[in-house]
């Protein structure tokens, strides 16, 4: 049994066309999956469905064997954490410390344990020295790291990064991606929702969404060079692969250069 099972899920916002249309997907424990798609492909809807912020009109979602429903949504939120796109709009606390504490207070963790976890996870995202700072004194990247610490402190099995790097500068993005790598190495299941190929390529598997349907789901290496699929969903090849493609089209054979380009693209 997979950790997350999504079966024939459909979702429509009031009166619009289907945001998700008969999507089935399963995600294994410890896996790192990217949901890749263009704007309006339904990828963010999918993430909101998994944490029960939206309710599917059709289909079933199971997390760790529990079927998502109004009665189980709280149990599921203990298993699945989500980091959203806008660092400002998910900062609840008045200070960094309060913000990391927010989720723990909701889970009714004892105060001593809470303090311990706050310090531990603040250190983990290198925000320990900022614990008493207020959000308007932090950069976007720092706020996003606080959001990550807040989710980590809740010790969820799965963390969804819903375009979590989209509003960050390159340095902040690089940093968040590093935490994703480290977390996945430690066994956390990670789902990244993104339209950025560079971010998707780090994951084990890429699910390409288009107009609410799963276009393709495959190992990252395979999706990476699948120009047809990417073009169909309005996504671009990574620059090294674009170059490789160009070389192939013009019949230029250079195995070592191609190998170099391939490695380059695998590192995002």
């Amino acid at each position: 049994m997979s950790l997350i099972e999504i079966e024939n899920v459909s979702f429509t916002y009031h009166g619009n066309k289907k945001a998700l249309d008969d999507v089935s997907l399963s995600i294994e424990k410890g896996e790192w999956v990217s949901i890749l798609g263009h704007n309006g492909s339904g990828k963010s809807t999918l993430s909101k469905l998994i944490v029960g912020l939206l309710k599917p009109q059709q289909g079933v979602i199971r997390v760790g064997g529990i079927t998502l429903s109004a009665d189980t949504v709280r149990d599921i939120r203990k298993k699945v954490g989500i980091v959203f796109q806008n660092p400002d709009n998910q900062f609840v606390g008045v200070t960094v410390r309060d913000d990391i504490a927010f989720g723990l207070e909701n889970l009714q963790i004892e105060r001593e344990e809470m303090i311990e976890r706050i310090e531990h996870y603040a250190k983990k995202v290198d925000m320990y020295s900022y614990l008493n700072k207020e959000p308007h004194n932090l950069s976007g990247g720092q706020k996003q790291r606080v959001a990550i610490a807040g989710i980590l402190a809740m010790k969820t099995d799965v963390i969804i990064f819903d375009e979590a790097t989209a509003m960050l500068d390159p340095e902040g993005r690089e940093r968040v991606m590093e935490y994703m790598r480290a977390l996945n190495r430690e066994g956390t299941t990670i789902i990244t929702i993104t339209h950025d190929m560079k971010e998707a390529v780090l994951s084990d598997r890429i699910v390409v969404l288009k107009d609410g349907r799963v276009l393709k789901s495959d190992k990252s290496e395979n999706i990476l060079k699948d120009k047809a699929t990417l073009e169909k969903s309005n996504l671009e090849l990574l620059l090294p692969l674009e170059i490789m493609h160009y070389l192939n089209e013009n019949g230029i054979e250079n195995p070592s250069l191609k190998e170099f380009l391939w490695q380059l693209s695998l590192n995002g």
Partner: protein, 320 residues
């Protein structure tokens, strides 16, 4: 825009800072009520002296409290003048005959116009204003020649003066006390204290924790929204909206061009925030553990007892 600071907490270290916010809140209310009940002239002055002593002992800079008083100075003096002029009870203690002649009225108007034109350049605006008021009366009193339209008298009555005095000192005491509270208490602590003090309201089904959460989120988003407002103003200014000048009609249009996007953005933000809070297992009204705890110290028992004793004493004096 960034200068607007709600609460005006000023970091420091004295017994006032170490006190529990609950103590400070309850004591504030007790002392305010006491200030309203005092009716004796000497008691009022003693209270004012005690509050000033509290300021000094609590190592709060008097200048900061003055800054807290300043926006209300005009109101204070206005009530004072209003009471002095229109309250006509008790003995008459001061009479000033006034002469309304062509010359005296023109001269008085000239004084006002002069004040109006020069007030920008004077540092002590309030004193300058009072000086002008005195000058107007002086002109009306001493210029008693020319074509006379009529005569009048400016009278001050005992009751008017004493009422004016009491209102003013009461307001000053209240403002001083609440400024002490906001200067020495962080907004978050104040909020937490308020939540705990109002907890008995649970009996009438008011969830104080929810109210406290609303206040805390409001506090957290004030800087963010001010930032946002700044950005929108710059964006609108770059399209030719001039926020500095214009007639009233233009001002309305300018404000609307700021308010509409602010509203839309705020709604989007609150939607996002609600999602983020819910995803982090927040359920309104559900019990939560708290990171911040308030610790009751001996100092608090002492301070609370003292202020309640003061209130009771004032009530006893009034009733007896």
């Amino acid at each position: 825009m960034k200068n607007i600071v709600i609460g005006r907490y000023v970091p420091g270290n004295s017994f006032l800072y170490r006190m529990d916010p609950r103590t400070k809140l309850i004591a504030l209310i007790a002392l305010m009520v006491a200030a309203f009940l005092i009716q004796s002239f000497t008691h009022m002055l003693v209270s004012l002296a005690l509050v000033t002593l509290l300021l000094v002992a609590g190592r709060i800079s008097v200048k900061r409290v003055y800054l807290g008083l300043r926006p209300l100075m005009f109101l204070l003096f206005f009530t004072f003048i209003f009471q002095v002029m229109f309250n006509q009870e008790g003995d008459e203690i001061f009479t000033l005959p006034l002469h309304y002649s062509l010359l005296s009225i023109v001269a008085a108007a000239a004084v006002v116009v002069f004040w109006f034109m020069t007030k920008k350049h004077v540092r002590f605006k309030l004193f300058y204003f009072l000086f002008t008021v005195a000058a107007v009366f002086a002109v009306l009193h001493y210029i008693d020649f020319g074509v006379l339209f009529g005569e009048g008298t400016f009278r001050v009555f005992e009751e008017g003066l004493s009422t004016a005095f009491f209102i003013m000192v009461r307001l000053i005491i209240i403002i001083m006390l609440s400024t002490i509270l906001t200067i020495t208490t962080k907004p978050t602590d104040l909020n937490l204290g308020l939540e705990r003090v109002l907890k008995p309201l649970r009996i009438v089904r008011i969830n104080t924790e929810e109210i406290a959460m609303i206040i805390s989120i409001a506090l957290r988003y004030i800087p963010t929204l001010l930032d946002e407002a700044n950005k929108i103003m710059l964006a609108q200014a770059s399209r030719g909206v001039d926020f500095q000048e214009g007639k009233l009609k233009d001002k309305v249009v300018q404000i609307i061009s700021l308010l509409v996007p602010m509203f839309i953005i705020s709604f989007q933000r609150s939607d996002d925030l609600a999602n983020a809070m819910e995803a982090r297992s927040f359920v309104p009204g559900q019990p939560r553990t708290r990171l911040h705890v308030l610790t009751w110290k001996r100092l608090d028992t002492f301070a609370l007892t003292l202020s309640l004793v003061a209130l009771v004493a004032v009530i006893v004096v009034r009733v007896v």
